[in-house]
Amino acid sequence: MAEEKPRYLIFLGCVIPYRLSSYEVSTRKVLQALGVELVEMPEYNCCGFPMDPVNHDTMLTLAARNLCVAEREGLNILTLCNGCFGTLYKVNKTLKEEEEEREKINGYLKEFGMEFKGTIEVKHLVHVLTEDIGFEKIKGAVKKPLTNLRVAQHTGCHIVRPKKLIGKDDPEDPKLLKELIRLTGAKCLDYMDEAECCGNPIIGVNETIPFSMAKEKFDHIMDVGAQALITVCPFCHMMYDLNQPRIERAFNTKIGIPVLHYPQLLGLAMGFTPEELAINELRVKPTQLLEQI
């Protein structure tokens, strides 16, 4: 019997269309090759997370509206962004489990002729890779193992925390991304404080603190000799790649660590060219790394 092909509504969020199509390009390449079918969101609005600090109900309603679109389509959501994942996953869970909250938000949604029913699931790219496709199949798709590479991972926060709401992976010592990296043949190095936040969410009000947090992360990964940092969130990626020259200036130092989206690393191991994976769009060019593979 033919295996059923996993099918998802792809939820791009805001950061990817704004700045990081490299993440989208490489994800689509890799998922297509691994037999995942992606359906475009017919109607989209921001997940809602950026509005949460100002008004919690606004966030809940924006998120629930997106969930209702997916329910109408009868498809589960796949996000590439940790922020979108955390928001949609937690709101989905809260509205499924808590009647009072569900009734309040459904009161707002009624105005759009919508009702949250709780019929779909929300997954991040990491969960689709590990839960739906599985390690064996990914391993089988690796044609050019990247055995010369030594890299470090940054899983990020909203895909694992708060533990009691997300309940996947280990927030203190995240393992899923590490295992995914090891499938490519690259060495994934342990380093100090791997679970520490990128700091990007507060960059609009304070640059010094997030830059210091990111600098500390780079110090730790350079201490163990990592050649690149691997991320699965566009917001974290912006912090480490786009902002890297500014962090270098702020601390008057040279960092020069390329930051790859995980599907770019996996794509290289599957035999895609750097061009096919939009690696040229990275701010910090991984020139030396590409020579080595």
Binding site: L12, S21, M51, P53, L62, Y108, C197, N206
Partner: protein
């Protein structure tokens, strides 16, 4: 938090503030905080800020220092990494308490960071929190990506209206940076 060296006067305490906060979703367990300081010891922001101390925020709420805490701009430098929630031995959702205080602060002081007003403005115009430049949309085509998903900014505006967000935007002045 920057003002905690000041003397606390009995008349500035609101004895009901902690109950008011504890009723709000996410802040129910605030009263269980026994000031161990785990949240602050493990907070990546506290490591680099002289002023940001989640433990003090919890204590200020318990004491009833309502005006002081709601006008303290350091509420806005929590990165929402949620480490404090995962580590709290009393199961207080510290980061959610801070979200509750931020929401309340906007109403109470008519002030919010400029960045949120900008993001909200973009969201109402485009459905995205950033204005996606035309060049990006053209480059999507060149890269062989599907067109951007269709958005419904009118529905965003309606969500803003229904949930009271529009009024907050209209009533609020802004500030830019928090040291």
């Amino acid at each position: 938090m920057s003002q905690t060296s000041q003397v606390i006067k009995a008349e500035e305490l609101d004895p009901k503030f902690k109950y008011e906060i504890s009723k709000i979703h996410g802040a129910e367990k605030l009263m269980l905080c026994f000031q161990c300081g785990t949240c602050t010891a493990d907070c990546p922001v506290s490591r680099y800020s002289e002023f940001y101390r989640p433990r003090k925020i919890a204590r200020m709420v318990q004491l009833g220092l309502k005006d002081r805490i709601l006008s303290d701009k350091h509420l806005w430098i929590c990165t929402t990494c949620y480490t404090c929630i995962d580590h709290c031995p009393q199961d207080v959702d510290v980061a959610h308490v801070i979200r509750v205080l931020r929401n309340m602060s906007v109403k109470h002081t008519n002030l919010m960071p400029l960045v949120y007003k900008e993001l909200a403005g973009n969201l109402m115009k485009s459905g995205f929190v950033y204005m996606i430049p035309e060049s990006r949309i053209r480059r999507r085509e060149q890269a062989g990506l599907p067109p951007l998903p269709k958005t419904k900014p009118d529905e965003v505006a309606k969500v803003f209206e229904l949930t009271g967000f529009t009024k907050l935007l209209e009533n609020s002045e802004t500030f830019e940076k928090v040291e």
